[in-house]
Symmetry: C2
Subunit: 111 residues, 2 copies
DNA sequence: ATATCGAATTGATGACTGTCGATACCGTGA
DNA sequence: TCACGGTATCGACAGTCATCAATTCGATAT
């Protein structure tokens, strides 16, 4: 059921529209800085991480990190929460799973 | 075991090098034309498809299709075989699975 | 109010990429 | 050997993107 909300599995005749949608989600993932953000946030205590703790381990400027975080939120891969003047983020695993599920050209576990 | 040859899972502290590698594989997937190619080839009889049957359903020119096929082969997602003057392709599911496995921030099936 | 500090936005720049027309390459069959 | 046809390569162009410095926005605390 997880792939339904996001992108239909590839199994076959993927039409251009679905392909564009899935490609959009993958584009959001296809960047080293964003993968590391997901990795760092996903490994954080209680699953939540503050933006203020991300620039340094990433080795990128604050505007650049902010830009990537926005991209990931727009793609539905991160959830954002404002706490006072700090921004906190959490990985939306359901969404990540949906993308992963959609990535089955020939899924060995299915029919 | 499948993710070892390709890219380490995101689980945590993904370093820049690993992130670049995984991002590379995802970049290869993050294009509508290439997703459709995988989909079409994966659904073909016996898993093999001839390049000559791909331009038309894709609605792209022959050079463009050739370019995308090359990209997918370089990324290890397609296997190429020359038969006379025709080029045949097959989806490398192991590689696709490896990428999919690497895409787990918190893998429910593991430790 | 005002100073402070974290985060988002803006603007600019250099690099990359998807696309196609034209062309070159290379098996096959006559 | 030559013509044919499938495929790859080349050159060009338009669009996208990652990045940063400078600036603005917003919330907190004094």
């Amino acid at each position: 059921m997880s792939s339904v909300d996001c992108c239909p599995p590839l199994h076959d005749p993927l039409d251009e529209g679905d392909a564009v949608e899935l490609a959009g989600a993958l584009k959001a993932l296809a960047d080293p800085a964003r993968l590391r953000l997901l990795s760092i946030i996903g490994a954080a205590d209680a699953g939540w991480a503050c933006a203020c703790d991300l620039h340094e381990p990433l080795g990128r400027s604050q505007p650049t990190v902010s830009h990537h975080l926005t991209t990931l939120v727009k793609a539905g891969l991160l959830e954002r929460e404002q706490r006072g003047k700090w921004a906190w983020f959490r990985v939306r695993e359901e969404r990540l799973s949906a993308v992963r599920d959609a990535l089955s050209v020939v899924d060995p576990v299915r029919d």
